[in-house]
């Protein structure tokens, strides 16, 4: 992949009837609140006394994926996804599909919040497809381009117990090979936008070189027109920037609204040479930001990159928000982006970007 080939991967997502010359790509990070009835359907499926079989559950999952994809469309997003309706948790879902993983039971994260942290008990190997079905179903449910978020190998490694490999890095590199295989399948299925989620990098920022090495494996052989992004959230970005710019991705998706853009300076000290997907709404407050407020947040992005390299997105997945709040945040976000585009066309925005 050519790291300089930036704008080409973005233009393909501009809608044909886009009303303005400027185009701020609007999208989401991935997760979305599940409809309450989907959780009820899962409970019915787990209850042996009920006659709610696998087929019924799959139908419920399809309904939910279609519903949330349409909800994304209705909010006006340029690139949509299904809100990860089929995924239970960002590590468990993948571990369940990879040979070599086993589950031993829940472990504490904090208070009475637990997760079924898996163990790598044997060599990891590709078994069944992870996300191809999810992508194909979503792509079939919408006319908009679809983004696929996928948990990165470093996070899959560090949020598991490693019983088999000599080091976490070695496990991460093996998993990177599997992620590469999955992305090749997604690309064959028509996917052109893939986001690697590496929240664990925020916990151990000194490991950015391991994540970089993983991404080299992941990007290997992936066609140039496929847009690759990296999502990292809730950490001290000064410990990974500017080093992350060397990674073979087109776009970095960053959480900055939560900290009220306190970390903006980190990204202006050294020139941001890739695309920036800027978090413009906070996913940890139920207060819905106004269009005006979001417009101001979007314009903060112009201090880092010019408009043609700015993607507009929430800070992180929105699954912990009430559904109506999540929707309203997306709708306001798109509205804000469209208004800023019009202002840019009219020359009314003084984009502060001072690079090339």
């Amino acid at each position: 992949m050519s790291p300089t080939n930036q704008t080409n991967t973005r233009e393909q997502f501009r809608p044909e009837d886009h009303p303005t010359e400027h185009f701020l790509l609007t999208t989401v990070v991935g997760s979305y609140p599940k409809p309450k009835w989907l959780n009820r359907a899962k409970e019915l499926h787990e209850d042996d006394d009920r006659d709610f079989d696998e087929e019924n559950l799959q139908e419920a999952l399809d309904d939910a994926a279609r519903l949330i994809t349409h909800e994304h469309e209705r909010s006006g997003l340029d690139v949509v996804c299904d809100g990860e309706m089929r995924r239970n948790e960002m590590v468990e879902y993948f571990a369940d599909r990879i040979d070599g993983y086993e589950f031993n039971g829940p472990v504490k994260v904090w208070g009475h919040n637990y997760f079924d942290k898996p163990s790598v008990a044997d060599e990891v190997a590709y078994d069944e497809p992870w996300l191809v079905d999810e992508f194909e179903f979503t792509a079939g449910a919408t006319t908009r381009p679809v983004k696929v978020p996928i948990t990165g190998p470093y996070t899959l490694a560090s949020w598991s117990f490693n019983e088999h490999y000599d080091s976490e890095a070695e496990l991460a590199y093996e998993l990177a090979g599997l992620v590469n295989e999955e992305i090749e399948r997604l690309v064959d299925a028509g996917c052109r936008y893939i986001q690697i989620d590496e929240p664990a990098l925020a916990t151990t920022p000194d490991d950015h070189a391991i994540v970089g090495e993983c991404l080299e494996h992941i990007a290997d052989g992936i066609p140039e027109h496929v847009r690759l992004g990296l999502h990292v959230c809730y950490g001290d970005y000064s410990r990974i920037y500017p080093e992350i710019l060397d990674m073979p991705v087109h776009e970095y998706d960053l959480e900055l609204a939560n900290g009220d853009y306190e970390q903006l300076d980190v990204f202006t000290a050294d020139e941001f040479t890739k695309d920036l997907a800027l978090g413009v709404v906070d996913v940890h407050t139920t207060d819905v930001e106004s269009v005006e407020e979001i417009k101001e947040n979007i314009k903060k992005g112009f201090e880092i990159v010019p408009p043609e390299r700015l993607t507009v997105s929430p800070d992180c997945g929105v699954k912990l928000l009430p559904r109506e709040v999540a929707y309203q945040k997306m709708e306001n976000m798109v509205q804000a982006a469209r208004e800023v585009e019009a202002e840019l066309d009219a020359g009314e925005v003084d984009a502060a970007y001072v690079g090339d």
């Binding site: 039971g105 829940p106 504490k108 904090w110 008990a121 117990f161 916990t203």
Partner: protein, 325 residues
């Protein structure tokens, strides 16, 4: 003659049924965590779980039996988080783990509380108490009352000494991961040692200052040797070389605690591996003979799922049986 004892630093995972029951009884949010004034239903669930983990240690053949610290929602910050002069604020990261605790902010005098002594009361099978060491507890907390770091550390040491004085156990484990993870600077290292000494001299029990996630840097280690404690605990899972180096260069106390079982990995060590690790340390420091060797997991055990936690207890006790020093 060296006595080898199988023990743990406590902070066990809740049994799976208790994870469910207490989630339902207490809730999932910050405000739902332990405050020190729980209702009868919650107390009963903890009592039942405590009995279960005590019995499980006895069944495994663990010598240093702890009550499990099952109520410690905030891990090592617990003794402050339940104190009346402390506000609990946002959720903050627990060292370099994917675990979080409520930030305890000290806003008034840290007078006697008695919360931990109450957990130990009426438990005849429990012979080992567990507390955070003063340096780590001060490191995990925020001070808005005492004004400077030295005064705050003093106050924390005084508070822990008061709490520990109420215990009636043979052994007290003071957990001090911050001596490794956020090691004290010049001057602070001496104060850390004095603070530990202050707590240790308040109790009749044997005091083990247990460290993990690496090795203490040399200078703070040298200062720690001045504290009147019975043993230092070393993490031989994460960094055996530097820990052996510290012992060879600076000596250690008459007894020693050896973290030889990985508290953060589900791979269960065999009794033979555990025995070998203990013998390896003994062979590596030929100039030392020990009164007591406390064989333990390196870290707290709440990181593990219940089945592997129990398997590790069994392995530890069996491993100790096979040691020949």
């Amino acid at each position: 003659m060296t006595e080898v004892i199988a023990t743990t630093p406590g902070l066990f995972p809740l049994p799976d049924w208790a994870k469910d029951d207490l989630s339902d009884l207490k809730g999932h949010q910050k405000d739902d965590l332990i405050s020190g004034d729980e209702g009868d239903d919650v107390l009963e669930a903890y009592e039942r779980a405590r009995t279960e983990v005590i019995d499980r240690q006895l069944e495994a053949g663990i010598d240093g039996v702890v009550e499990g610290q099952l109520r410690w929602d905030d891990m090592l910050a617990h003794p402050l988080c339940v104190h009346d002069s402390v506000d609990t604020r946002g959720i903050v990261r627990y060292y370099d783990n994917n675990n979080f605790y409520r930030e305890p902010v000290v806003t008034g005098d840290l007078d006697f509380d008695g919360d931990v002594a109450e957990e130990l009361a009426g438990q005849p099978d429990v012979n080992q108490a567990v507390l955070p060491g003063p340096y780590s507890l001060a490191d995990l907390a925020t001070d808005e009352h005492y004004g400077d770091d030295a005064a705050f550390l003093d106050a924390i040491a005084e508070f822990l000494a008061g709490e520990a004085a109420e215990f009636d156990t043979e052994t007290l484990f003071l957990l001090e991961p911050s001596l490794v993870e956020n090691a004290p600077d010049d001057g602070e290292d001496e104060r850390a040692s004095e603070a530990i000494d202050r707590v240790a001299t308040a109790v009749d029990a044997d005091v083990v200052v247990h460290t993990y996630w690496g090795a203490i840097p040399e200078k703070p280690y040298a200062h720690l040797m001045d504290a009147d404690i019975d043993a230092v605990g070393f993490d031989f899972v994460s960094d055996h070389e530097q820990n052996v180096y510290n012992i060879q260069e600076y000596g250690t106390k008459d007894s020693i605690a050896l973290g030889v079982v990985d508290g953060q990995n589900t791979l269960v060590e065999t009794p033979e591996e555990i025995a070998e690790r203990i013998e390896w340390v003994d062979d590596s420091v030929p100039a030392q003979t020990f009164d007591t060797v406390y064989a333990t997991s390196n870290t707290e055990l709440f990181y593990l799922p219940q089945n592997k936690f129990e398997a590790k207890l069994d392995a530890l006790a069996d491993g100790v049986e096979e040691v020949s020093l």
